[in-house]
């Protein structure tokens, strides 16, 4: 029986038979369907995914006409910070536009939280203005709501990560509710400054990293921003495949936020005024690439099917089926891109 080069979730290279790959694909889609209470991939979709996974080429590509929008969250951290290339942020944006063919990009700073940025937002606004004067592609400004930064010792609010293990649940919940108010205020303020500087949009990144209160803050900020700056596009990218219930009881428009999976997250985001939704599915390092990609596709497809707004899927290290490795292998990223665009029919990556 012939075997195919593929990988495990931590990036380790392995050879697997088509039968084993198919087994993992079926198991991965079943896992997502069970957790998210969504449909599994169809037989035709599974067949096509197995075909993509067993293609002999090192890298694969989409069929002409099935291309998607390409963008980068934490955009200006990729080359100068993570790759260590000594270029400034403006040069990074122009390299992405003119060399790497990004369709849109995010300007951001190393301290990637709205709370931190308000201290130097005027300088960020100047960089945004320069970027707008030099680039053709739409430029967003982005950071994380990062509610944890509002807690002691970094902020004024009691730390719910300390209160919860002490059994002080009411106090932990009250602290999170207080942090939401601060975060909304900061996100609205910074977006206002960036809108003045000509930003095409604002990105709320890794939403939910501090739990359901983090999500509520982003939703409330989006709702307020849509009223104040209707022409500024709002993109909301999630932290994980379901909203972690750090509070557990918070609701938006009468629906509980915690535990929502992408197909429900996107509806809530759209209702709040979000224009582009960033779907995130976590990679399990212990499972195979085939299992992880099938799982990511199942969630992404349900999200796209439910959405009334464009959906982009986070297809970077450790999410979207991409393996957990510092430098992601192109055999993996190209197959993830092809499958997400052709099977899940996402709008972009």
């Amino acid at each position: 029986m012939s075997e195919f080069f593929t990988r495990l979730g931590d990036g380790a290279a392995v050879m697997m038979s088509e039968e084993d790959i198919r087994y993992d694909v079926e198991d991965g889609t079943a896992d997502a369907a069970d957790r998210g209470e969504i449909p599994e991939l169809s037989k035709e979709e599974i067949d096509y995914l197995v075909e993509i996974l067993t293609m002999p080429m090192k890298n694969v590509s989409v069929e002409r006409g099935k291309e998607g929008i390409m963008t980068f969250d934490a955009g200006t951290l990729k080359l100068p910070v993570r790759a260590g290339i000594p270029v400034d942020r403006l040069a990074t944006l122009m390299m992405h536009e003119r060399v790497l063919c990004s369709d849109t990009m995010e300007l951001c700073t190393t301290d990637y939280s709205y709370k931190s940025i308000k201290n130097f937002v005027q300088e960020e606004a100047m960089t945004m203005e320069l970027a707008q004067n030099n680039c053709i592609m739409p430029i967003f400004y982005g950071a994380m709501p990062n509610l944890g930064q509002y807690t002691k010792p970094d902020g004024p609010i009691d730390n719910w990560s300390e209160l919860l293990p002490m059994g002080k649940i009411a106090e932990a919940r009250a602290a999170q509710e207080e942090a939401v108010e601060h975060a909304v205020s900061d996100m609205v303020f910074i977006t206002g400054q960036m809108a003045e500087a000509g930003a095409c949009g604002i990105q709320f990144d890794t939403v939910g990293a501090s739990g359901d209160a983090d999500v509520l803050a982003a939703l409330m900020a989006a709702k307020e921003l849509k009223k104040r700056f209707p022409n500024v596009s709002i993109e909301m990218g999630m932290a994980g495949e379901f909203n972690l219930g750090m509070h557990g009881q918070l609701e938006y428009e009468g629906e509980r936020i915690a535990g929502l999976y992408p197909h429900k997250q996107v509806k809530m985001a759209a209702e709040a005024g979000v224009d582009i939704f960033g779907c995130v599915v976590n990679t399990n390092s212990n499972q195979t690439f085939a299992w992880n990609l099938a799982r990511a596709l199942t969630y992404a497809k349900a999200c796209v099917d439910a959405a009334d707004i464009p959906v982009v899927v986070d297809a970077g290290m450790g999410v979207g089926g991409v393996t957990n490795t510092n430098t992601t292998p192109t055999d993996v990223t190209s197959r993830v891109s092809k499958a997400l665009l052709e099977i899940a029919k996402v709008d972009g990556l």
Binding site: L8, G9, D10, A12, R35, S161, L164, P165, G167, I169, A172, R173, G211, D212, F242, N243, L244, G245, M246, H247, G248, Q249, A258, G259, L260, Y261, N282, S285, N286, M317, G318, N324, T325, N326
Partner: protein
């Protein structure tokens, strides 16, 4: 009531995180002649495992998980008292030093693991996050710990777990402490490669592995 009925209530009280109802059920069961250790294992421990699974699927949330852990502690205290009354010992099963490795500030998962391991009668000393390997080893020696658990969320920090293993070998302490590793990028293969004694894919497996390591 039958033992099965007490077990069913025990599981339900864990899912509801109701410490008072959990304790009352255990006391009633003891009065009815049910073996408290069996009820703890087949009822309450099974319940808390179910809570862990529901949490992993996003169908239960952190406050409920914490309430369940508190309920488990209340029940464990009753069982320990009962064992002591019968002349047995209710000594703690072991001491574990737990930390998120140096360079890594992610500790939500580690906190959950700590809470669940404590429910098994293990004393957990949580050193927090961004903890250098040397500090972890020093604390383990100071406390005469049985286990060292480390967590990492990043591929860039998981290498610190190997630093810890190397340090233990260098100091001649590898046989003195059992080591357990976990966190999103960590795998069983990685654990074996660096020489860790056990790997926990999630909080529930971490608990099982701690119980196994403590024999």
């Amino acid at each position: 009531m039958t033992k099965e009925e007490y077990i069913e209530i025990a599981i339900d009280t864990m899912k509801k995180g109701d410490a008072d109802a959990a304790a009352a059920n255990m006391n009633n069961a003891i009065a009815d002649g049910i073996d408290p250790a069996e009820l703890l294992s087949e009822g309450y421990s099974a319940g808390i495992r179910e809570v862990g699974d529901l949490f992993g699927k996003g169908r239960m949330f952190l406050p409920e998980l914490m309430l369940a852990a508190d309920a488990m502690k209340a029940v464990s205290a009753i069982v320990e008292d009962e064992i002591a009354k019968k002349g047995g010992t209710s000594e703690k099963k072991g001491v574990m030093v737990l930390a998120t490795v140096q360079g890594d500030v992610h500790d939500i998962g580690k906190g959950i693991v700590a809470s669940l391991i404590k429910t098994q009668g293990v004393e957990v000393v949580d050193l927090g996050r961004d903890v250098p390997a040397a500090a972890i080893v020093d604390k383990a020696v100071e406390l005469n710990a049985d286990l060292i658990g480390t967590s990492a969320l990043l591929t860039t920090t998981m290498g610190e777990m190997k630093v810890l293993e190397d340090l233990l070998k260098e100091k001649g302490l590898k046989d003195r402490f059992k080591t357990l590793v976990g966190g999103a990028p960590v795998t069983e293969r990685f654990a074996k490669r660096i020489g860790a004694d056990a790997y926990g894919e999630d909080a529930s497996q971490a608990v099982s592995e701690v119980v196994r390591l403590l024999g």
